[in-house]
């Protein structure tokens, strides 16, 4: 039976995130969190492979204890196991330290065939973690895929590129990053929810459980640092309202766009 590992993180909803203009730090109060949208698609892709081929699905995430309900939610959706890698030592990690830590945790899991990540996280949006994990594990990668098949024991993935796509085939183990929006994540299963609430125990691994030193993880293990946060003006606009009857609205729109219409 194939073992699929899904790397999943929890992110604040982008629209709700604001910068405190005085302290230049992110205001976290009152901001809702969610499973990183692309990771939900990665999880769904894993669960579809499980439905079809009977794979085992393990979800791992490196983050603070408050991620626990989201890790459990992944199990309620259909994952077989979930592990939260959580330790103060991991705080402040850049993509390099994050990938190193996730790779060490995946090594500890033992045998695996497929690692699925999201294409990118909605907060940092780097997309660099998946290829870095693959390098640390010394396995192949296929990034930005929107379709995965298992054919005669091999992994076949459709990789979407600018202006086209390629279909690649590879023997496991291989890491894939899954495109946001490529499938419709399922709802949690109510029967599983009862089992998860009553019996499922989330495994929490601290740094002691991994073959890593304090210097290799978190801020100390990072090779890029954030100097400052700035608010990006996504556009100061006139915000003029156009109103009236539909015909009047259409006339006003026409007056604005007419100079730009090429005959």
């Amino acid at each position: 039976m194939m073992h699929i590992v899904v790397c999943m993180k929890v992110t604040p909803k982008s629209e709700q995130v604001k910068l405190d203009p005085n302290t230049k730090t992110i205001i976290r109060e009152g901001v809702e969190n969610e499973i990183n949208p692309a990771d939900k698609n990665a999880l769904e892709a894993a669960l579809q492979l499980k439905d079809k081929h009977g794979c085992k699905v393990t979800v791992i995430g490196m983050g603070p204890p408050m991620w626990e309900p989201y890790m459990k939610l992944a199990v309620t959706m259909g994952a077989d196991d979930a592990i939260l890698i959580s330790d103060r030592a991991f705080a402040g990690a850049d993509t390099l330290a994050t990938s190193r830590t996730l790779a060490a945790a995946i090594k500890k899991l033992g045998e695996y065939d497929l690692i699925l990540c999201g294409e990118e996280s909605s907060d940092a949006g780097t997309g660099h973690v998946p290829p870095s994990i693959a390098e640390f594990l010394n396995i192949p990668q296929i990034t930005f895929v929107n379709n995965i098949e298992i054919i005669e024991g091999k992994i076949r993935a459709k990789r979407v590129l600018e202006g086209g796509y390629e279909v690649l085939e590879c023997a496991p183990p291989v890491l894939l990053s899954v495109e946001y929006g490529c499938n419709t994540p399922r709802f949690p299963d109510f029967r599983r929810k009862r089992w998860v609430d009553k019996e499922f125990k989330l495994k929490i691994w601290s740094i002691g459980e991994l073959q890593l030193s304090n210097e290799e993880v978190g801020l100390k293990g990072s090779r890029s640092i954030v100097e400052e946060l700035r608010e990006m003006k996504l556009g100061e606009r006139a915000r003029q309202k156009i109103s009236g009857t539909e015909d009047e609205i259409v006339e006003q729109i026409l007056n604005i766009i007419r100079p730009y219409i090429k005959k």
């Binding site: 629209e15 995130v17 660099h128 890029s224 100097e227 990006m232 003006k233 309202k241």
Partner: protein, 327 residues
Amino acid sequence: MSQEYRGVWVFLERRGDEVIEPSLEVLGKARELADRYGDNVAGVLMGAKNLEIQAETAIKYGADVVYIVEDPLLEDYSTIPYSEALSRLVKKYKPNIMLYPATRNGRDLAGRISAKLGLGLSANTVWLDIVGDGVLLAGVPGFGGGIMAVTKCLTKPQMSTVRPGAFSKPRLNPMREGRIEKVDVGKLPDPPTKTIEKVFFTVEDISKAEAIVIAGIGVRENIEAVKKLSEKMNWAFGATRPLSDEGLVPRDIFVGATGKVVKPKIALIVGASGAAHFISGVAGAEKIISINIDPEAPIHSYSDYSVVGDAYKIIPKLLQRLEAERR
């Protein structure tokens, strides 16, 4: 000045015989950064053979040197041989800065190199600056583009992937001269992946459009009318990402943080809510006019003119009026 870690390098991604535009944009920025602290610009070009013409082009766009690595395994982009070849080059020449276009291949490659060489890497930058003798500051957009983190790498080369469209393509200078150097990096590993199929479409590049109509999920049932409107006015046609995820429009016309960045003189946006991941792709428009039925939709505050109204009623009327004016 120490001999170690000099040069601003750019990964020159190819599509067939051409260096892709995002790489040229990065090259232009690299030139500006290098001039600021008196350094050279080098391009890295990999492929099977005959790369001299592209190398010449890169020189005319601002490179002082182009390093060429030729190997049959480098014909098309593939993670393992490309990352192996590039990391050997980087170890040999020790550049101060290594920039990649933040295309899918560029990100695939940069993330791999970062782990291979233990280097810091800033992602998808939209802003770059030099302080002191070649210290790179990189602006990384977060949360869909609402916030920018100014980051610094602690290792050299200081690496960054650069958002396509963030910088403009430099002007070609036919008189510029430079040096081409072929480098032998030794035997490369075979790719572990086999290519079954590879397809490229010719698509209109909406990123250069002077005027654009953009459809959101709110007009899902009537995309054709919106498209027709764009055709009537001779404007480009774009969409939000969910429409392309649902397969209702081609992938290469969605606008936003993970899609195209457009900088038109005017954008008419219909049935889009104005999510941060979308807005960051149109924020450079000179004028935005939007139609959305929900008065609370954030798109209204990102617009110069906005209509709270039903696009299904307004679009057909607009089409009628435009047709009437034609006659």
